[in-house]
Symmetry: C2
Subunit: 426 residues, 2 copies
């Protein structure tokens, strides 16, 4: 795909991006004040348009798939659309329409002794720039969540998904038109050139926040280059710690589900930590379960002695998100070593402890510095829907603004509205 | 003051800053889990130390003042300490001690149909880097708020206040020692070299958030250079809009107080907008009030015709924070032109409307895109204390993470704690 550009092309792209930004800024001012009704009308009309244009979307996707023959099977699967995935996008828009409108909600309200009435009221962030992988469904999900929260969206999907995303954005525009809202509320970066991302990250006057989704290299590039605040969605290097005090059956179920339910999601476990006692009693069965399910096990010295099929783990394994049927296994002395390992090697995403000891569980939940910490439950619950928050754009691994699942409510800011009767400050 | 450095000095500073960052990171892990009691003990002991060491602080401040003879009177006033300002710092620490501890608070809690219990729990941000003006009292206030919220602080005050700040940090250390908490919870950047700020902004592995306070040039430098998320505290270009439907007496009181109560605070009004009708009926008295109080009035053409003492305003005036007894005045057609002017020229800080018309007020409160919007009240209420939030580090003019007054609660993040009984995801 085109990566290098002529100088003129670069200049044209810069102009085009500036126009995009200005249009988004203008749309966001209108969208910020749009009624819940008109936003929901747009979302439902977009859902209808997605269904009505399923054939066109599939044709665009076929074009993308044909050009992406060199991608890995896992990435091709992320890129591929079929009728059920298209229906899921339409349903997603309708589900977002059904969520409560976060905008205008009074988060808190109080009266001061001098009679000033202070209210903290939710408002949109403004213009949200989203940089994501070649996953066409994110185009629909992200558009819907931004629209619901009154934000204009500038979308930059992976270059392999360009035609699919363009077809989906067409449907969002149809929805917006149907509700009398500006089309520029949702815009796709019109170029697959890598330079477009760099330009986007410099548009601090028209973009209020950048949400990058993807691997460490993208997030690092964005953090280094961006002149705009970032809500980072780093990879998920998630851990299961099986304590010596774990129930064996529960531990087996939770490890298998955390790793193998779906291996390509960010909440999938990548590393298993096991207490020294449990390594003798429970680990052999866990390794057996994983091998049976087709998972490659990469273990430390102790784990290697338990089963011949265990591959030796290298240092790199502890810092790797496989997104595949591979798991690294390490035996630790106890909960404190597990905590230290997770805080050093994890991505502050999602980690779980399996134990029957409530005190040990509390120690883990308190000391592990991740957005989501669980006790006796699968890491695969790391999901806005599973949390009851409706749809999500992803899981924030940063601590600023939003942590954990980022739904419509996390795409908002607030303002203080103060009502007086002539008060001046003494 | 030393600004240029030899290469060796630069290398030494880099090493020293790295050590500072690592010490802060280590302290923050301990501080995050400290009890409310020990944090409050440290704050009260710090207050006692400030009182006990008042002489040493005054001596250090005298050194700073002597070296800063070329500063403007306004800046010298910000730098100067006396016994009442020292007492105010001590009282400030005690007041922060008396605030509720934000850390560990359960912000929300719910149970999912599958039995998972989800809690959203407040946690500290980690290490907070604060870059501020030559105002020694900020050293005490910022330390106290960070300590209360379980964050380690790295402080970089203006170079002119170095000795004063160092003496105050000594007192914070005395407090921390008294409570058995690590001294590295509060650290002052040990160099007044400008390079130290650049190094600080690159320390993304040890600093979690940067809070810059100050003028546009500092904030712009920080936004451009920082590899760390920023909670920006821009200048306050605050507006009073006096509508044609304003009560004349109330308008006069609010304008005078917004501008003149204290001219050096960020919530002071810098620009007065007046409806065309009110320009005839109320503005002459307002100009009279301001002139009497010693305020220079810079007006547009209409305002100039009202009073001989009015100086012509230039385009630059609409974008200027005077922090002084100067005000710019512009006559506008009505509330919509006022809103457009504020959104274009303000700093999204604090703006007020004076009107007896509730509908017009709501239009202003909804459409002005600022952290604090008021109706019939002075802009000088822009203050965490006046909002009932206790002390504040400043007023955030950004939309991400925190907007408006930034107190202990705004210096926190959260994590999701999920308690299960063996749940796996279907």
């Amino acid at each position: 795909m085109a990566v290098l550009m002529h100088r003129d092309e670069g200049e044209n792209l810069r102009l085009e991006m500036r126009r995009l930004g200005e249009a988004a800024r203008k749309a966001s001012a209108e969208l910020a004040l749009a009624s819940s009704e008109s936003k929901n009308t747009a979302l439902k009309a977009a859902a209808a348009a997605i269904r009505a244009n399923a054939k066109a979307i599939l044709a665009a996707n076929a074009k993308d798939m044909a050009a992406a023959s060199d991608l890995s099977p896992a990435l091709r699967d992320r890129l591929m659309l079929d009728s059920s995935r298209i229906e899921a996008m339409a349903t997603g828009c309708e589900e977002v329409a059904a969520l409560p409108d976060p905008i205008g909600a009074v988060m808190a309200e109080w009266t001061r002794p001098n009679g000033l009435k202070i209210a903290r009221v939710r408002v949109p962030l403004g213009v949200v720039g989203i940089i994501y992988e070649s996953r066409p469904n994110v185009t629909a999900d992200a558009s819907a969540l931004c629209l619901k929260s009154g934000n204009a969206a500038i979308l930059r999907g992976g270059s392999e998904s360009f035609h699919s995303s363009a077809a989906i954005v067409e449907c969002m525009h149809e929805g917006l038109r149907g509700a009398g809202l500006p089309e520029a509320s949702v815009q796709l970066v019109p170029s697959i050139a890598r330079e477009a991302v760099g330009i986007m990250l410099s548009m601090a006057d028209t973009i209020d926040v950048i949400i990058p989704r993807g691997g460490r290299s993208l997030i690092e590039r964005v953090a280094a280059e961006s002149r705009i605040p970032v809500i980072k969605h780093l990879e998920g290097i998630c851990h299961v710690f099986v304590s010596d005090k774990a129930d064996a059956d529960m531990a087996r179920r939770i490890v298998l589900n955390s790793k193998m339910r779906r291996t390509g999601v960010c909440g999938a476990a990548e590393t298993l930590l096991v207490g020294a006692g449990a390594a003798k009693t429970i680990l052999p069965a866990i390794v057996e379960d994983l091998e049976k399910a087709g998972c490659e096990v990469r273990g430390d010295a102790t784990t290697q002695t338990l089963d011949k099929r265990v591959v030796p783990a290298t240092d790199k394994d502890w810092d790797t998100e496989y997104l595949d049927a591979i798991i690294s296994v390490k035996v630790v002395k106890g909960v404190d070593e597990a905590i230290a390992h997770i805080n050093a090697h994890g991505s502050h995403h999602t980690d779980t402890i399996v134990t029957a000891d409530a005190k040990e569980a509390e120690r883990f939940l308190t000391h592990v510095d991740s957005g989501i910490v669980l006790h006796n439950a699968s890491t695969q619950f790391a999901d806005g829907g599973e949390f009851g928050m409706g749809a999500e754009i992803g899981i924030s691994t940063g601590k600023l603004h939003a942590r954990g699942p980022v739904g419509a409510e996390q795409l908002t800011s607030y303002k203080y509205v103060v009502r007086g009767s002539g008060q001046v400050r003494p």
